[in-house]
Amino acid sequence: MEDEKILVTKLKNPETQEQAFRELMSLYKERLYWHIRKIVYVHDDADDVLQNTFIKIFKNINSFQENSKLYSWMYRIATNESITFINKKASKHNVDISELQYKMVDDLQNDEHYSGDQIQLILQKAIVTLPHKQQLVFNMKYFDEMKYADMSEILGTSVGALKASYFHAIKKIEEFLKSY
């Protein structure tokens, strides 16, 4: 936490900003990337969103009020940027988001940057059948093994609601896997 405060101070100081920003990217680029990738599926899209996320962090660092963890704040920006990206893509193709997600998952097996086996592909298909927020909860808990308290800070939802949401997500996915 102390290290985080020092980093934030450096980020807000124009003289040390660039070096601090490099340090910030080095610390969080992979975690943010994989979170984004699980929402947008395609590497090139995840790359765009990740860059936009860091640029947004850089632009708005002075408005970060330090009443939450820096990583929670960054994760929230990454989530919003990913959702915005998906919405724009769906709108561009004149389809709704669910339809777009089904298509993206279908295209995974032909994606050069996807090496999952059959069961993992089926799991991805099961995830897109969940409501959008529940997809986020499942990904953050199941794949990222995030604490409920941190998830609560990022998604703005109570811990109890998150636990209930995760439980329902697991049940639905299990039913989908059984039906396959």
Binding site: P14, F21, Y33, L50, Q51, I55, F58, E112, H113, S115
Partner: protein, 206 residues
């Protein structure tokens, strides 16, 4: 939720290996991404807290301004520059409005003519009287001190000589009674006048 709990609730899901590398990235992607982001940041010239640029434009202004201008130009070429709307039923009521205005202006003229017909001659007489009295009388005379009856008496006595023809020339729209212009001459008086005067000279002069 630990693995045991997951296995109880969702046994199929619990046996799927947690393999994050099902998604792959190009080689050296994470080694080069930082430079790419920094370059993009500098290229966008993101203002820092010490920015001297205090002028701002609305969000996405430069992205949208072209479309806005083109739309406006197209709109003007289709609809013309006259974008002003007229009130509802304007062209239906314009005729009535014009006629009403004409009527109200002619009423004003009628009143004006009536006023001139009766008041103008008396006003002229009064002013002439005033001049006469001022010349012949040291006592101050005001217009208010004269009554219409007094003015009429002065005219009848011949103290004020009003040239009706000059009045009719000044107020051509005023209709005088025929009696004002007519003279009470007998036929004999007319004949005498004609014998006495040199008609040739009169005709030549006129």
């Amino acid at each position: 939720m630990n693995k045991n709990d997951l296995h109880k609730i969702a046994p199929l899901l619990s046996i799927i290996p947690l393999n994050k590398t099902q998604f792959e990235v190009p080689k050296k992607y994470f080694e080069t991404i930082e430079d790419a982001i920094l370059a993009k940041t500098m290229a966008e010239n993101i203002p820092s807290s010490h920015s001297k640029n205090t002028f701002k434009t609305p969000h996405n202004y430069f992205d949208s301004i072209e479309s806005i201008v083109i739309s406006k130009l197209k709109s003007e070429s289709i609809h013309g520059n006259n974008n002003k709307a007229v009130p509802d039923n304007y062209f239906d009521s314009i005729e009535d409005n014009v006629f009403n205005k004409l009527k109200s202006s002619s009423k004003g003229n009628f009143i004006k003519v009536q006023f001139l017909k009766y008041v103008a001659p008396l006003a002229i007489a009064a002013s002439l009287l005033l001049v006469f009295l001022l010349n012949n009388n040291t006592n101050s005379v005001t217009f208010d001190s004269l009554t219409f009856t007094e003015i009429e008496n002065l005219i009848n006595e011949g103290s004020i000589d009003i040239d009706e023809f000059n009045i009719s020339a000044l107020y051509s729209e005023v209709e005088f009674d025929n009696e004002i212009n007519s003279t009470l001459l007998s036929d004999d008086e007319v004949l005498d006048y004609l014998y006495e005067e040199d008609l040739d000279e009169i005709i030549y002069d006129n």
